[in-house]
């Protein structure tokens, strides 16, 4: 296979990854790593570096649309970015000392959890009681537009959410993924932020979190231009197409199918990690 065919096939794969990633909310990066390692037999360190760049591309690309709608809670995002960026730098440093087979196994496990979280039906919280003093002091409470007008919401369990975000950051730096599912879990389940707000705020944070570990990856040679070329362009085009379809399609079935595919890929990654093939 020449570089030309390799680039074209990968471009198609990255397009599909970006499309499915944006339709299911899992992000484009999670498919890039199994695609590169299992299909193209790329070293996992190149795969991680490339996936992280894909995560930044999709985050910035779609955040620009969400921020405009006024759903993103910028203060909440900024405050929690202290947690995710410190976690991400720690994760990127940890990645140097961790054998690639262990990284592959952790990646597989996180992938299965993320797939499960994305299929699980979502409850839409609306906390109106002012229970957290910290949230008040940090001015994290906000409001967001609904068909019935602006709705005020309050944030809870700031400390727990902060710790969960630190973990999301560590995994992001270690595995080169956006950890969007974990970020939403922290804001949705712990801090009781309305689902729409937590999804968009998480997406807003992914770019900054990933940038913190990307500069470390860049210095370490994980980010290769030959791989970034098809992946960045493919994922961006796919994500753009995904947002267009998202407005019309019912994504429930797609989510389940994608969840099953992701789980199978994850099991393969774990198997390869355990048998030392990665």
């Amino acid at each position: 296979m020449t570089i030309l065919t390799f680039t074209l096939i990968l471009l198609g794969g990255a397009f599909l990854a970006g499309l499915l990633g944006s339709l299911t909310g899992l992000g484009g990066g999670v498919v890039i790593i199994p695609l590169l390692t299992l299909v193209f037999h790329t070293d996992i360190r190149y795969a991680i570096g490339t996936a992280l760049i894909a995560a930044i591309a999709t985050s910035s690309g779609s955040a620009s649309a969400y921020v405009k709608e006024g759903i993103t809670n910028i203060r909440l995002g900024m405050f929690l970015e202290i947690a995710t960026t410190t976690g991400a730098v720690a994760g990127a440093v940890l990645a140097v000392y961790m054998p690639t087979s262990v990284v592959a196994v952790i990646f597989g496990l996180v992938l299965i959890i993320s797939a499960f979280l994305s299929i699980r039906p979502k409850g839409n919280h609306l906390e109106t009681a002012d229970k957290s003093q910290l949230a008040q002091q940090l001015r994290l409470n906000g409001q967001y537009p609904t068909p019935e007008g602006m709705v005020n919401y309050k944030v809870r369990h700031v400390l727990g959410g902060y710790l969960m975000m630190t973990l999301a950051g560590v995994l992001s730096g270690l595995l080169g993924i956006g950890s969007g599912a974990l970020k939403v879990l922290a804001m949705d389940n712990m801090m009781k932020v309305p689902f729409k707000v937590s999804t968009t705020t998480s997406n807003f944070m992914i770019g900054v979190t990933a940038a913190a570990s990307a500069v470390v990856y860049l210095q370490r040679g994980y980010i290769d231009p030959g791989l970034c070329l098809p992946v960045v362009l493919g994922v961006l085009a796919g994500a753009l197409g995904g947002t267009k379809i998202l407005a019309k399609a019912n994504t429930r079935t797609l989510r389940v199918v994608f969840g099953v595919v992701i789980t199978l890929l994850a099991l393969q990654m774990i198997y390869n990690g355990v048998t030392g093939k990665l």
């Binding site: 296979m1 020449t2 570089i3 030309l4 390799f6 680039t7 590169l36 037999h41 790329t42 070293d43 190149y46 760049i53 930044i56 591309a57 985050s59 910035s60 690309g61 955040a63 620009s64 649309a65 921020v67 405009k68 006024g70 993103t72 910028i74 203060r75 900024m78 405050f79 970015e81 202290i82 960026t85 991400a88 730098v89 990127a92 440093v93 001015r139 770019g207 900054v208 990933a210 940038a211 913190a212 570990s213 990307a214 500069v215 470390v216 860049l218 210095q219 370490r220 040679g221 980010i223 290769d224 231009p225 030959g226 791989l227 970034c228 070329l229 098809p230 960045v232 362009l233 961006l236």
Partner: protein, 132 residues
Amino acid sequence: MKRLLSRKYWEDKDVEVLLGTLLRYGVILSSIVVLTGGIIYIMRHGHEIPEYRDFAGPNNRWDNLPAIMRGVFLGHGREIIQLGVVLLIATPIARILFSVFAFTVEKDYLYIVITLIVLGVILFSMLGGLGG
């Protein structure tokens, strides 16, 4: 310039819309740069065999900005792609810088400090010698 620093001007402009625009332009600019470098790279190396099976470690042609810029001025495809990637990484960082400015205009001192902490963490990861 005085108009740019007045609070009214920024409220009218709506900081959040500006943030969104900043992110969009960052993404568009970096994809154009990546595409340009990509065309040069494929034209010169398209017939070669890709080598990604084994990790080669840091490549001193594109693991730091000065080297990338040297390659860009020589018209090398892969360094131009990598410049696009660096621009992509820089986009969210530029967003933080912009937020410091926006919070300053709003006189929100707590969030100026919070934003500067985030910026500090990123600067540390850039310059802290963590690449080794």
